[in-house]
């Protein structure tokens, strides 16, 4: 009985870890595509807050979760167009302009929430969709195959993006403009457009990440992300700019968060220590950055605007 109990807690913790990893994974994968093209987007957190609000508001008004998810992606695309103008056309410094995007997203989502919704109201949540047959497998079925479709999508994106980056012409162009834009340009690859597409993919995924975050919770509050988007940026370094690496990082973060939640619920750690435990992702990131610094190679042209002269 006690074995069964521990096992069911373990399964529930792993399942919750995978669920919590989803927004990290979506945002981190999107950031990976952008950074491989040489563009750092520090505004992910702001984009996520904006898309989370608009996705939440849509679902609150229409009860349509699919529409809400699309609205999240749409908000991401709009912010992507803006970010492409800032970094590709106007060639602004990427770190600081990302902070501008972050502040705008933080302020505007807060403004809209207070004005249009006021007090947090629960909206529909993403339902779990058990995969037939697979979810019947004992133990791992429940942990791995009873999630929302956004979670499946996030994990499905890992091999898709890896394939895209490695094998397709578009993916090779992205890597080329991120490593050596001058050479890519001389071979006739449009650096500006390639980076623009990469930014759009990245922001669309950040938008979806915001939607996934809020629709999983079913409720919005100002500063909902609490730095999640920034950690997603760090995950790209953690994962050495590879989708599979980003996935391992996201899973690690999700599982750590799930374990902390579980411990808190069971009273293994006192309530007051949960604030200390909440530092785990940030501390883990700093440690990872120290360990990985110099061992992984960033795209050579990362944060460098390109111009022909």
């Amino acid at each position: 009985m006690s074995d069964f109990f521990t096992m069911s807690i373990l399964v529930a913790t792993v399942a919750s870890g995978i669920r919590l990893a989803t927004p990290y994974l979506l945002a981190g994968l999107g950031e990976t595509v952008g950074q491989r093209s040489g563009v750092l987007n520090l505004g992910v957190d702001g984009v996520m807050q904006l898309s989370a609000f608009f996705a939440y508001w849509t679902v609150l008004e229409t009860d349509n979760l699919i529409l809400g998810s699309f609205v999240g992606v749409g908000v991401g695309l709009v912010m992507g167009v803006i970010y492409a103008v800032i970094t590709v056309v106007l060639q602004a410094q990427q770190g600081i302009s990302g902070i501008g995007i972050f502040l705008f997203g933080l302020g505007f989502s807060d403004l809209m929430f207070r004005r249009q919704v006021g007090t947090p109201k629960p909206a529909n949540q993403l339902p779990d969709v058990p995969i037939p047959l697979l979810s019947d497998i004992p133990v791992i079925g429940e942990a791995l195959f009873e999630h929302s479709w956004l979670t499946y999508l996030a994990f499905a994106m890992v091999p898709l993006l890896a394939f895209m980056l490695r094998k397709t012409t578009f993916g090779m162009n992205i890597r080329a403009v991120g490593e050596n834009p001058q050479a890519a340009d001389s071979l006739g690859v449009s650096v500006g457009w390639t980076r623009t597409y990469a930014i759009l993919i990245g922001n669309a995924m950040a938008g979806l990440a915001g939607a996934a975050l809020v629709l999983e919770l079913g409720i919005f509050q100002p500063n909902l992300t609490a730095g999640l988007g920034f950690i997603a940026v760090a995950l790209v370094y953690f994962g050495a700019w590879r989708p599979a690496g980003v996935m391992s990082g996201a899973l690690l973060y999700g599982l750590v968060a799930a374990v902390v939640l579980q411990w808190k619920a069971q009273g293994i750690i006192p309530r007051s220590a949960s604030d200390i435990a909440a530092m785990a992702p940030a501390v883990l990131t700093i440690i990872a950055l120290v360990v990985l610094a110099g061992r992984v190679q960033a795209p050579s042209a990362l944060t460098r605007p390109f111009s022909r002269h």
């Binding site: 602004a92 770190g95 302009s97 302020g107 807060d110 950690i231 370094y237 940030a282 501390v283 950055l289």
Partner: protein
């Protein structure tokens, strides 16, 4: 012509940001004209409101001047939030430990504690960048998250007001701190405390440091070209650490001033860093950029953004427009100011054909970090 254009770029950026603000007001069904009136009235309408604006500007001046040191050394400091919190926590702890010192000693002591707290949290990402090649943008942001949680832990646990525990309400705040640590008022009859003066003096000190001392020369040399600085025998790693420590110390001082200049005379958390700092760690970046990364220009620039913040509070009161609109406008200002370097270049090129030869630089020289040449 070029010179005029260079100086007007930040103003143009502010104007565009305000136009966006007007669009936001229209979008939520408020009148931009009424909005502007409420904003100006809230920020400048009376002596008390003017003082409130100056108080709001105080942490921005400090963080902004600190940001200037970092950026002039080509180091990005996005850790203002964490540094403010660190300074506040250390100075609060000191005030709790030695509450009975006379004011003439305790006030300087808590301010120095703030400086030290911020310097420690600034020096960590500095040293990590210098000695372990850790990207300081990421590490400063991560330390922001760490410091918020530390604040929440300390204010809910070890530093909580014993009365809150007794009453069972457990509001995460310290007890009322010693009156001897309170920053004295400098203008009779108006709530304007010593912190405002300290911030202005600190910004002037940063100017002197950067342009009139050997330390400042070394920092700027590293910012200009680390390789050349190294060739000239300057210890680049140590200077990077110093830059972030100094930058952080001013954030920490802002944190101490926030606590000991507050009406409640205690440190409170609502669980977020913005709840305590009012996002001054980020808004200080906005003020510094808007001031062309010059410590003295940071003073009027911070006053402007302080006005926006106090004005927005009034906007909320009068027109029920939520105050976070100020944060959104700040974001737009940042975007336009950092985009405008290139914008200016483009406009310059357009004007080139008819402009007379003019070799005076149009703005104070901007370090590479803002122009996008950062590696």
């Amino acid at each position: 012509m070029k010179r005029l254009l260079g100086a007007s770029i930040p103003l143009l950026a502010a104007l565009i940001a305000f136009l966006f603000g007007a669009v936001m007001l229209l979008a939520i069904g408020a009148s931009p004209w009424e909005g502007l009136k409420a904003l100006l009235d809230g920020a400048f309408g009376s002596a008390d409101r003017l003082a409130a604006t100056a108080i709001k500007a105080t942490p921005l001046v400090l963080v902004g001047a600190g940001i200037t040191i970092a950026f002039r050394t080509s180091v990005v400091n996005i850790g203002g939030e964490g540094q403010i919190v660190a300074g506040a926590l250390l100075s609060t702890s000191v005030a709790l430990a030695v509450p009975d010192l006379p004011a003439i000693i305790l006030v300087p002591v808590v301010l120095v504690a703030g400086l030290i707290g911020g310097a420690i949290v600034g020096a960590i990402p500095g040293a990590l960048k210098a000695y372990a090649s850790v990207n300081e943008i990421l590490s400063t942001i991560m330390l922001n998250i760490v410091m918020v949680q530390l604040m929440n832990y300390l204010l809910r646990g070890p530093l909580i007001d014993p009365l809150e525990v007794e009453a069972g309400t457990r509001i995460p705040q310290t007890e009322r701190l010693s009156d001897n640590a309170t920053l004295p008022n400098i203008v009779p009859g108006v709530r304007l405390h010593l912190g405002v003066l300290i911030a202005v003096l600190a910004a002037i000190a940063v100017y002197v440091l950067l342009w009139r001392t050997p330390t400042g020369f070394r920092l700027r040399a590293v910012g200009h070209s680390p390789d050349a600085a190294k060739a000239a025998g300057i210890n680049v790693k140590r200077n990077i650490t110093t830059a972030l420590a100094l930058s952080g110390s001013l954030g920490g001082l802002a944190g101490a001033i926030l606590v000991f200049g507050s009406e409640g005379q205690r440190m409170v958390t609502d669980g977020s860093s913005a709840g305590f700092t009012g996002s001054a760690g980020f808004n200080g970046i906005v003020a510094a950029l808007f001031g062309g990364l010059h410590p003295l220009w940071t003073i009027p620039s911070s006053f402007l953004f302080g006005a926006l913040l106090t004005g927005a509070t009034n906007l909320q009161r009068v027109l029920q427009v939520p105050a976070p609109i100020a944060i959104a406008i700040n974001g737009i200002v940042v975007i336009f100011v950092v985009s405008s370097g290139r914008l200016r270049e483009k406009i310059d090129r357009m004007l080139e054909a008819r402009a007379e030869f003019d070799d005076t630089p149009s703005t104070p020289e901007t370090p590479a970090v803002v122009e996008g040449a950062q590696s």
